[in-house]
């Protein structure tokens, strides 16, 4: 076997190994995220319930997004995202300030801002694309 062929086989093998490792890494990440999410659920449910009860009458992010419970949810970071998206999908809600703060993403086209259904759909599509939710 020539050195050239051997090199190609090694390269192909390296690619397969790299892909397998990436896939394994992704599965481990998702499994770890799922375990972490479950352990966060009760804290998130308590904070989200308190936040909704105490800020439901506010219209503006300057009031509702500065509530200590909302800020604590933001502080929970990336692992809390599946729980936020779960609420967003089931009940809607004013989660976008938190989503921006945690993800630094902006999936909503400027023209769709203020259109509640389109905003929610854009964020949920982004979450599926990022494999945060299925």
């Amino acid at each position: 076997m020539s050195i050239l062929w051997t090199g190609r086989i090694i390269a192909r093998t390296d690619d397969r190994v790299a892909n397998a490792l990436r896939s394994l890494e992704g599965a481990v990440d998702r499994a770890a995220l799922a375990r972490r999410t479950e352990s966060l659920r009760s804290e998130f449910d308590e904070l989200a319930g308190r936040w909704q009860e105490e800020t439901g009458g506010y219209s503006f992010a300057a009031q509702y997004a500065t509530h200590p419970a909302y800020r604590r949810i933001i502080g929970m970071g990336y692992p809390v995202l599946p729980l936020i998206f779960e609420q967003l999908e089931d009940r809607g809600g004013r989660w976008y300030v938190a989503l921006h703060a945690i993800t630094n993403a902006s999936p909503v086209p400027q023209a769709d801002r203020g259109k509640t259904d389109k905003v929610r759909a854009a964020w949920l599509a982004w979450a599926r694309d990022q494999q945060i939710i299925t």
């Binding site: 009458g57 506010y58 219209s59 503006f60 992010a61 976008y96 509640t116």
Partner: protein
């Protein structure tokens, strides 16, 4: 817990006079939209509140002067009183310090209508939403800091 009881817990001033819940809860519109006679848009100057609309030519802050400029753009001018005047539609602007928190619209009957955040619309007395006795002026919506008016039309009656 019924809507009336829940709202009274949140805004104790509602206990001081009669009020009626006039719509179901909704996240589709808020108090600014409702004051403008619209039940389809959520308004908020926060650039990260994706659910919200804000006019491009108005500052993105919660200063009371900013709220006045929103309503100026819809034909309102500042006035000194919130009492009922024939042919005029009035709004009451609420603030904590210099930051706006809420706006209510006067009905042709002289009572007021408000959309309470993502909660219900209610018909109420103007003072029912201000900080109740024993609370600081920074409680919930704070206090009424300005009135604005424009000619009342058929649709705003």
């Amino acid at each position: 817990m019924g809507d009336e009881q829940r709202l009274t817990l949140w805004l104790p001033g509602l206990e001081l006079g009669p009020f009626e819940v006039t719509s179901p809860r909704s996240t589709s519109y808020n108090c600014i939209a409702w004051a403008l006679g619209n039940a389809e848009t959520w308004w908020d100057p926060d650039e990260y509140a994706d659910e919200a609309y804000w006019p491009e030519d108005v500052a993105r802050d919660v200063g009371i002067e900013t709220l006045k400029s929103v309503f100026s753009g819809a034909g309102f001018t500042e006035c000194s009183r919130g009492d009922l005047e024939e042919g005029l539609e009035k709004i009451a602007l609420y603030a904590v310090g210099a930051e706006f928190t809420h706006v209510a619209r006067q009905l042709a009957s002289g009572r007021w209508t408000s959309k309470l955040g993502e909660d219900c619309d209610i018909e109420h007395d103007m003072d029912a939403l201000v900080s109740p006795p024993g609370r600081s002026n920074a409680w919930r919506y704070g206090e009424v800091v300005a009135f604005m008016q424009r000619p009342r039309t058929e649709s705003s009656a």
